[in-house]
């Protein structure tokens, strides 16, 4: 059975800006504001809509931050679910059109 893939893309309705190694993200629809740590920033920046989340975690989290792959994947899915619930990230089981902010 093929592995279930998650694809993520940044919403077009957000403003984002990096400062001192952290990414600040604001949803223009409801003005909610988030500060992402380094790991979350790496995932956010790699959210191009066509790279599966598992690849993003492998290439941008595990390699750079030397963390356990399974734990990193679980943390990433939790992070993606949270940002998705606030309209910051779009999530699909199929590739998405990139919505670079």
């Amino acid at each position: 059975m093929p592995e279930h893939c998650i694809y993520i893309a940044r919403s077009s309705a957000i403003a984002a800006r990096a400062l001192a190694g952290e990414m600040m993200v604001m949803n223009s629809a409801d003005s909610t504001f988030f500060t992402l740590n380094e790991v979350a920033t790496a995932i956010f920046q790699a959210a191009d809509g066509h790279t599966p989340l598992r690849e993003i975690v492998r290439d941008h989290v595990c390699e750079q931050f030397q963390v356990d792959p399974e734990q990193a994947q679980a943390d990433a899915e939790q992070f993606v679910a949270e940002l998705s619930s606030h309209g910051i990230l779009l999530v699909s089981n199929q590739p998405l059109a990139a919505e670079t902010p």
């Binding site: 077009s12 309705a13 957000i14 403003a15 984002a16 800006r17 400062l19 001192a20 190694g21 952290e22 600040m24 604001m26 223009s28 629809a29 409801d30 003005s31 504001f33 500060t35 902010p101």
Partner: protein, 282 residues
């Protein structure tokens, strides 16, 4: 039939003159009294026409600010306004309540400022020794307390809504008529911003650094902005980052007595001395 003549008052806040007009003599007198220290003879850059309705009292409903084609629509239970930034003109339907009037003006200024790199901040501000100090925080953090504790030589700009615009050396703070618990309008003057303090009450007076990202996060939480508009939100975030880059931002833990103002003066002297010894942007 001849339309009733409109009376016009030009109200200049933050060096942005806006003509407010109404056919209602009572409402005209109300707005003249409310913005007494901010009436101006400058040529208005923008115009708002007020039509009074018998709408209900000030509403607690959330404000809705969005675009309808090029125009901005400002709505709350107690007012409805349409303002076209291309012509600079707008029309407001509201009851005669001064709080509705304040709200419409604040929203309009927040839109104008956002495009000019400025913003309204939920903060008290005052001028001391020729420089402006901002005190921000949640309700109860001590904004009004700080203004009450200010020595007599300190000029109050506002105890509730601070008005900030970029200037040659950084940012300038302007007085506003928007009062909080103090129930007193600020003075109609301005000064370069020396520092922004996020307030916390404590048992001693202490100033602590804030990491830049934390400073931006706190700043964004306290900026008054209502529009659902991606371009303006991007501009606002860029402005907040620029402000953090150019203005010292600290956490001020303070014991509520007058000595806190001595502490603020000491901080400014120390900061200026350190900056001269080791300039950050050399």
């Amino acid at each position: 039939m001849i339309a009733a003549p409109r009376k016009v008052a030009c109200v200049e806040i933050g060096a942005i003159p806006i003509a407010l007009s109404t056919c209602d003599p009572g409402f005209f007198e109300l707005l003249r009294q409310r913005y007494d220290g901010f009436l101006s003879s400058s040529n208005p850059q923008f115009e708002l026409e007020f039509d009074l309705t018998s709408a209900g009292p000030v509403s607690d409903d959330d404000v809705r600010v969005g675009r309808e084609e090029e125009a901005w629509i400002l709505e709350r239970g107690d007012f409805h306004a349409r303002w076209d930034p291309r012509t600079g003109r707008g029309r407001v339907r509201q009851n005669a309540n001064p709080y509705s009037l304040d709200s419409v003006l604040r929203i309009l200024h927040s839109l104008i400022l956002a495009e000019r790199g400025g913003f309204l901040l939920h903060a008290a501000s005052a001028i001391c020794d020729g420089q402006a100090f901002l005190f921000s925080g949640i309700s109860g953090a001590g904004k009004t307390t700080m203004t009450r504790l200010a020595p007599p030589d300190v000029t109050l700009l506002t105890d509730e809504i601070s008005y900030l615009r970029p200037s040659a050396g950084g940012y300038a703070a302007f007085g506003t008529p928007f009062a909080g618990e103090l129930a007193r309008a600020g003075e109609n003057c301005s000064a370069p911003v020396a520092a922004l303090f996020f307030l916390e009450k404590g048992r001693e007076n202490r100033v602590d650094d804030l990491p830049p990202a934390e400073a931006v996060r706190r700043l964004m939480r306290n900026i008054l902005f209502f529009a659902e508009d991606k371009a303006l939100v991007e501009q606002l975030l860029a402005t907040a980052c620029d402000f953090v880059d150019r203005v010292p931002i600290r956490r001020l833990t303070f014991y509520p007595d007058a000595r806190v103002w001595d502490h603020i003066r000491e901080f400014v002297c120390d900061f200026a001395r350190n900056f001269q010894e080791a300039p950050e942007h050399a």
